[in-house]
């Protein structure tokens, strides 16, 4: 016995066992390697995208939108990690289950449980370790070739130093530990159970509840009947359905989440800067307004300007004249200026962190939160052109005179939460902060106040920018231009500013779209592994069918019903739930393009269905090569 042990040993046992299993060993290794490689690569890609987009430090756009992008990236990568780890552990569990009979036979033959445990665990260790190692190397190679020549694994992303290197170590290591843990537990459980149970695994895999109730759905034919019986009597069916369902759900959240986040961020910009709006201003103010508007998407520094220079001002009478032009629907009169502002948190009673109740004995004094340059926009709330996304609504005519709405890039530094305790000092006056909004103007470093208040503070009587909403009558624009020329003003459309900002957003999201596309590819790979594992488990039955006379078409239909049926049920549950999560829980005030969601659903369904067709075709072809000799006793 000792000589035999020395000859075989754990390594010899593993090598022989893996070689004997051939295709199935290769399948387990391939499935695990692909999962680890894709998960690691996706996380490497995510940290790279975060670095390239400058999301964690000095990104263009606004705080609100970059936070939305960053939050999406973090969520997507977290979900991808869960999908990767979940599927790795499932694959390992399936791999060990396939060895159940052999373990039972070896145990029944008299192998010592401890030795058997060490042998089988070592075999699992070999597969898992090599998969994780090769997976990590593959991920690194793909990442290096993708980001060449600017490969860096040692940049800080958010709170994580050396983010790339951390991902490269943590993901394969976690996968290895999890898989090895799952394998050890499964092997221990099988070795601990009676040999008879382990040997007669066929019965333990079958659900006996549905016996004697054969399904007869004539419309779909014999292959469908057989597939439903095979699947419904498989004890692992619910587990497979759940695993596939979770993977599809999470990847669909990543996919639909990207679409919802992209559409929502676009809508935030469009709502703040609606299309087909005409800008009327002095040429210098006009150019400045364009620069301020495109600072969301550009890096041009904002030049200094005397915003309230007498020559730039448009009198109330002149602005009223624009209102009288037929076809002009709204005139948004604005007085903009760049000013130094200081933020404060008002003195207040300390509150209990849990209950929110004031602790009346403890007063927290006023805190200066710092100073910055910000664009202050005096605006007439009743004629404001824009439907900003705000936290607590826009300005109203009945708001207190010294009330401001803060741009999102000021939140968290100059303006602290909760907003009702925040104050802004501007022009020597204190303003209460009513709400926060997302606004691309001056990249979100903007404050909106009532125009009369700003006029009073600055000692001017007039405006320096007019935004005009006009109808589609082609005669309106020449009329506006004529009147503006007579006042020495220029006219321009806001659309180029909007388009520049939207192009920037589109480019950013296109860049990020690699993540959901690869997440879908990962899910397809996982589904392929699941299906292959299930097909392998039932392969003998398929060979019997072939020998009995089931033709190629019948076999293909059977495999297709078995694979696509499980996928269809999973998709039917997972996709609507993923939609609901993405729409209702992912972003505030979401905007959804139904066409985009339909397209993403169609693409996912097509990709996953292709996987089922591919796996069914591969196994059908393998079946074509089998004969009676391939039947297992």
């Amino acid at each position: 016995m000792e000589v035999w042990g020395a000859l075989i040993g754990p390594l010899g046992f593993a090598a022989k066992s893996l070689r004997r299993r051939g295709f199935h060993s290769y399948l387990a290794f391939l499935g695990l390697t692909l999962t680890v490689a894709t998960t690691t690569f996706l996380l490497l890609l995510g940290q790279d995208l975060a670095t390239r987009l400058g999301i964690d430090s000095s990104m263009r756009s606004t705080f609100g939108i970059s936070w939305l992008i960053f939050a999406y990236l973090v969520l997507a990568l977290a979900l991808v990690s869960i999908v990767g780890l979940l599927s790795s552990s499932y694959l390992v569990s399936s791999m060990i289950n396939q060895r159940m009979r052999d373990i039972g036979v070896i145990k029944a033959a008299g192998a010592l449980p401890r030795r058997l445990l060490s042998y089988v665990t070592f075999e699992a260790f070999v597969v898992i370790f090599s998969s994780c190692f090769v997976g990590a190397l593959s991920a690194l190679s793909i990442y290096a070739s993708w980001s060449w020549p600017s490969v860096s694994l040692f940049k800080q992303v958010g709170p994580v130093p050396n983010a790339g290197a951390t991902v490269l170590i943590v993901v394969p290591l976690t996968s290895f530990l999890l898989c090895y843990g799952v394998a050890s537990v499964r092997v221990r459980r099988i070795v601990g159970s009676s040999s008879v149970n382990a040997i007669s695994k066929q019965l333990s895999n079958l659900d006996l509840k549905s016996l004697g109730k054969p399904l007869r759905i004539k419309r779909f034919g014999s292959a469908f009947n057989l597939a439903t019986r095979n699947v419904s009597r498989d004890r692992g069916f619910n587990r497979t359905l759940l695993s596939i369902g979770i993977c599809i759900f999470l990847s669909m959240v990543v996919l639909s989440g990207a679409l919802v986040s992209a559409d929502t961020s676009t809508s935030y910009v469009v709502r703040a800067m609606p299309p087909h709006i005409i800008i009327v201003a002095n040429i210098n103010i006009y150019n400045q307004y364009v620069t301020l508007g495109t600072s969301f998407s550009g890096t041009t520094p904002i030049p200094s300007l005397d915003y309230v220079n007498e020559s730039y001002m448009i009198s109330p009478q002149n602005s009223s004249a624009f209102r009288s032009i037929p076809g002009v629907e709204t005139v948004d009169t604005r007085l903009i200026t760049m000013s130094s502002i200081t933020g404060f948190v008002k003195a207040h009673f300390a509150s209990n962190q849990d209950t929110g109740e004031n602790i009346n004995t403890q007063i927290i004094p006023e805190v200066d939160t710092g100073s910055a340059q910000a664009l202050i926009v005096g605006i007439d709330p009743s004629n404001a052109i824009g439907d900003w996304y705000t936290s607590d609504g826009f300005l109203h005519s009945n708001d207190a005179q010294y009330t401001m709405i803060a741009g999102d890039s000021l939140i968290g530094n100059i303006v602290q939460m909760p907003l009702n305790l925040s104050q802004i000092s501007a022009f020597g006056f204190r303003y209460d902060v009513k709400s926060a909004l997302v606004d691309p103007l001056n990249a979100g470093r903007v404050l909106y106040a009532r125009v009369q208040t700003v006029q009073q503070n600055l000692g001017v009587n007039g405006y320096n920018v007019l935004l005009l909403k006009v109808n589609s009558d082609p005669a309106v624009l020449p009329g506006v231009t004529r009147l503006a020329s007579s006042y020495g003003l220029v006219v321009g459309s806001q659309d180029p500013i909007l388009n520049s900002n939207l192009a920037f957003l589109n480019a950013t999201w296109s860049y990020i779209s690699l993540i959901p596309i690869l997440a879908l590819a990962l899910t397809c790979g996982i589904v392929l592994s699941y299906l292959a594992t299930n097909f392998s488990r039932r392969f003998n039955d398929y060979v019997v069918l072939k020998v009995l006379g089931a033709n190629v078409w019948y076999r293909l239909k059977l495999l297709l019903w078995e694979s696509w049926g499980v996928l269809a049920i999973s998709m039917l549950i997972a996709i609507p739930v993923a939609w609901a999560v993405s729409i209702f829980f992912l972003v505030p005030d979401p905007s959804i393009s139904v066409a985009d969601l339909e397209l993403s659903t169609l693409l996912s369904a097509l990709a996953l269905s292709s996987v089922s067709v591919a796996s069914a075709t591969i196994y059908s072809r393998r079946l074509g090569l089998t004969t009676v000799k391939d039947l297992k006793p």
Binding site: S200, Q202, L203, L206, L208, L211, G212, P214, R216, K218, S222, N225, L226, R229, N230, R233, D234, R538, N540, D541, V543, V544, L545, K546, V547, L548, G549, A550, N551, V552, W553, Y554, G624, T627, V628, K629, L631, K632, P633
Partner: protein, 246 residues
């Protein structure tokens, strides 16, 4: 694409199996390996043919070729009048499901189907779509092999002998003229094996089926009308015992 319902039109031949100088060669690790060498078989309709020989002699390869699962590398092979060399995979599948019943040494019932469903499946594969008739026939066949009370059991819930009886019922389900059995008693004890031999004898006596059986079991050999002995892929001898049967 043709459906499973299609049946190959078969002429009524005098010979159920007609092999002329059939050879089969495999390539293993790049090297040719001869499994059969110039085998000639003439099995008449209604005969029981026993193919005997040691392990590796080529018995299962002969069955594979008769069933149309493999094609000969050389020689002519006709089964129930069908030229196997000139048939494609699809027509061979249709031929198999309509004309051949299979009995394996390891039973090989579909693990997820009950005994009666395994039998009924064969009828579905043969394209018999009348489910009422199929159910009735299934009950008859299950009764014939004495398993009425085990009809709704899964293969894993049945003993080896019971599984083999289900396999025999399945082999008869599509009412094939030719039944191929690959060492049908090889996994069974003496007593259970005898029950199977009796069942096979009934197939010949009552149903007039042609049986081709690979076996080491003398009881089956005794029952045979013709005995082919294979030695290392070649036909060692052909024996047609002349005896009076009761």
């Amino acid at each position: 694409m043709a459906s499973q319902d299609e049946e190959i039109e078969v002429r009524a031949p005098a010979l159920a199996v007609d092999f002329l100088d059939v050879s089969k060669e495999y390539t293993v690790n790049g090297k040719p390996l001869k499994a059969l060498s110039s085998i000639t078989l003439n099995i008449k309709e209604g005969e029981v043919a026993a193919i005997v020989g040691s392990s590796g002699a080529g018995k299962t390869t002969v069955l594979n070729i008769i069933a149309g699962l493999e094609k000969p590398s050389q020689g002519e092979a006709r089964v129930l009048g069908l030229d196997l060399n000139g048939s494609n995979e699809h027509s061979l599948s249709a031929f198999r499901s309509a004309n051949i019943g299979f009995i394996f040494q390891s039973y090989n019932l579909v693990s997820t189907l009950t005994a009666e469903e395994n039998v009924e499946l064969m009828m579905e594969l043969a394209g018999w779509s009348d489910s009422g008739r199929n159910e009735k026939l299934t009950a008859e066949l299950i009764g014939l092999v004495g398993l009425t009370n085990r009809a709704k059991h899964l293969p894993a819930q049945l003993s080896g002998g019971e599984q083999q009886r289900v396999a025999i019922a399945r082999a008869m389900a599509n009412d094939p003229p030719l039944i191929l059995a690959d060492e049908p008693t090889g996994n069974l004890d003496q007593k259970t094996g005898l029950e199977i031999v009796k069942l096979l004898a009934r197939l010949k006596g009552e149903k007039g089926k042609t049986l081709v059986v690979t076996t080491h079991d003398d009881r089956i050999v005794e029952m045979a009308d013709v005995i082919y002995r294979l030695e290392n892929g070649s036909l060692g001898s052909v024996d047609r015992p002349t005896r009076v049967r009761s």
